[in-house]
């Protein structure tokens, strides 16, 4: 797949992550790594701790134990803002778009980190601020073109159909020009056609921009098709890790995962 693509070194390495809320243990001693330029999938039944995993990677949750190394820097827990600065972007399972804003503004927020003009420059709309705004608008327009949502620029996101909202969510993440992109069920609730589009976008991102992708997905067909390596979680524990082919043949995964209604 993705012919000629070269998988690089390990960029993200999680060691012995344990996370619990009150008495509930969401993750138990999970270890795995992500290599540069690969598409890494996390699968597992509902409540297996998949989203918690992403939340640990970009610092929304702070694990009680374990370390997260990103680009060689090893730390106990991640600061959300730092993660964003270092190029980690993500989309959300239950679309976390900014409901009160237009599609364009939503995607523009992805550029916020790169916009430097000061408060007064913005208030007075100084030429420097205006210029900066236009530069970033152009970058955002490229993302808009890439994801084919030109027609909806000025629409409030709340009015868009679900599939398009998912796409805007991705656009916002892409606008950050991330090195590592975390996708939390990007295809949930989509019809076949929409899923195909989304697959195409994900692979294009991976190919054209060389973005490393960590992906949670329920649709096994999709996962097996597009990912380079897969990790399987069940009840917060890792029960499998390897290429799609290896996972297909893993007995523990078959028992735990495929036994559950899939």
């Amino acid at each position: 797949m993705g012919g000629g693509k070269t998988i690089g070194d390990v960029v993200l390495d999680l060691q012995g992550i344990s996370l619990s809320f009150g008495g509930v243990r969401a993750l138990q001693d999970v270890t795995f790594d992500v290599r540069e330029h690969e598409v890494r999938a996390i699968i597992g039944p509902n409540g297996a701790g998949k989203s918690s995993m992403l939340n640990v990677i970009n610092g929304v949750y702070h694990p009680q134990q374990g370390t997260v190394s990103y680009l060689g820097a090893k730390r106990h827990d991640v600061n959300t803002h730092e993660a964003a600065v270092q190029g980690i972007a993500r989309t959300f399972q239950n679309i976390a778009l900014f409901k009160g804003m237009s599609v364009l503004d939503n995607i523009m927020t992805g550029r916020n980190l790169r916009m430097k003009s000061g408060l007064l420059a913005q208030a007075f709309r100084l030429p420097s601020a205006e210029r900066e705004e236009l530069e970033h608008r152009e970058a955002v327009e490229q993302v808009i073109d890439f994801l084919e949502i030109q027609a909806h620029r000025k629409t409030p996101v709340g009015r868009l159909p679900y599939g398009l909202q998912k796409r805007v969510d991705l656009a916002r993440a892409l606008a950050m020009e991330p090195k590592l992109l975390l996708l939390d069920e990007p295809m949930a609730g989509m019809n076949v056609e929409e899923k195909q589009d989304m697959c195409r976008f994900i692979l294009d991102v991976n190919d054209q921009f060389g973005t490393t992708i960590v992906l949670i997905e329920h649709d096994m067909g999709v996962v097996m098709d597009i990912s380079d390596r897969v990790i399987v979680l069940d009840y917060g524990k890792k029960i499998g890790d390897g290429t799609p082919d290896e996972i297909r043949g893993n007995q523990a995964v078959i028992d735990a995962y495929l036994g559950v209604s899939h």
Binding site: F21, S51, N55, V60, F92, Q93, N94, A96
Partner: protein, 333 residues
């Protein structure tokens, strides 16, 4: 845990502040007990008003700013009707009026605004406040009126043998405390033992679950608003008997706000304990701390009790963002 340690430190500091006047000799033991009691009495009143807030917030998610206006309206109703009939009859009539009021509010305000933003609902209850203020004064007048519970106002001196100079106690304060305690016990029984009460608790936890029990949400709202009305009535009568019934008592709502943030918006014990902490805290601060502050900073008078309650509540919030007994909140993404 860190949180608990901070809470312990906060309590320790407050406790130290509480007993400081005794230790430093700024106050005799008898007077200190009097201030404590004064604070507790005030706290009981705050608790009563806060209880009304909590009941409504728990069941309908509405932050009811109109609770103060309801206290005034209930008290005015009792006071004016008691001029024409026995007090008990006036109180019964007033309960009926508060139920009607709850019904009207549910029908005309809450039902059309269901599922709106909490701030919109908050502002709607402010609208209700203006309406009740105007309506109450139109119907009942804006003078000062009396509620006579038949309790002597002159204070009595007790425990003269224990404390130097004895302790001054007011019978109406004792009666107020007893009434408040009784009300809390009745409410607890209602919530624990009756079917409706259990349904109300269910609705607080989960609106869908409550509907599956078979009680319509609308009726539940009428019930909690009526209950809050009755609590307002008790608060109004207690307060009115003590200080007279006049427009100003609706302002007591502002005193109850720090109580609910301290105790947590959804906790009945929180309202009670929060009320007592705030009551004692602000009276102690005003009596013992204010004179020191006035001297130190050459202020034009004390009056720190106006903000002390809020700052106290804020301190608690910084340690426990959901109040003492509030429900914890976890972000899910």
């Amino acid at each position: 845990m860190k949180k608990n340690r901070n809470l312990m430190i906060l309590f320790a500091v407050l406790l130290a502040g509480l007993i400081a006047p005794l230790v430093t000799g700024a106050s005799g033991a008898g007077f200190w007990v009097e201030v404590l009691l004064g604070g507790l009495m005030a706290g009981v009143l705050y608790s009563l008003v806060a209880l009304g807030f909590v009941l409504i917030f728990k069941a309908s998610g509405v932050f009811n700013f109109a609770q103060g206006a309801m206290v005034l309206f209930a008290a005015l109703s009792v006071a004016r009707m008691a001029e024409k009939m026995p007090l008990w009859a006036a109180m019964l009539m007033a309960v009926a009026i508060m139920v009607v009021l709850a019904f009207v509010i549910e029908r005309l305000v809450l039902r059309p605004l269901v599922n709106q933003d909490p701030v919109v609902l908050l502002m709607a209850t402010l609208g209700v406040t203006y309406f009740i203020d105007g309506f109450g004064q139109t119907v009942w007048g804006s003078d000062i009126y009396e509620i006579d519970l038949g309790i002597a106002r002159e204070p009595v001196m007790i425990l003269q043998s224990v404390f130097d100079g004895g302790i001054l106690i007011n019978k109406d304060d004792v009666a107020a405390t007893a009434a408040a305690a009784l009300l809390v016990i009745l409410l607890a029984l209602f919530f624990q033992k009756t079917k409706t009460g259990r349904a109300l608790r269910a609705v607080a936890d989960d609106h869908l679950a409550a509907q599956s029990i078979g009680i319509p949400l609308n009726r539940i709202w009428v019930i909690v608003w009526s209950l809050a009305g009755v609590v307002a009535l008790v608060a109004g009568v207690v307060w009115g008997a003590k200080l007279g019934v006049q427009f100003s008592i609706s302002q007591v709502a502002l005193k109850a706000l720090p109580v609910v943030i301290l105790g947590g918006f959804t906790s009945i014990p929180g309202a009670i304990i929060g009320g007592l902490i705030i009551g004692v805290g602000e009276k102690m601060a005003e009596v013992f701390l204010a004179p020191i502050a006035v001297k130190a900073f050459d202020l034009a008078g004390g009056g720190i009790e106006n903000w002390f309650a809020y700052v106290l509540a804020l301190l608690f919030l910084l340690v426990l963002p959901e109040g003492l007994f509030g429900e914890k909140h976890i972000d899910r993404v």
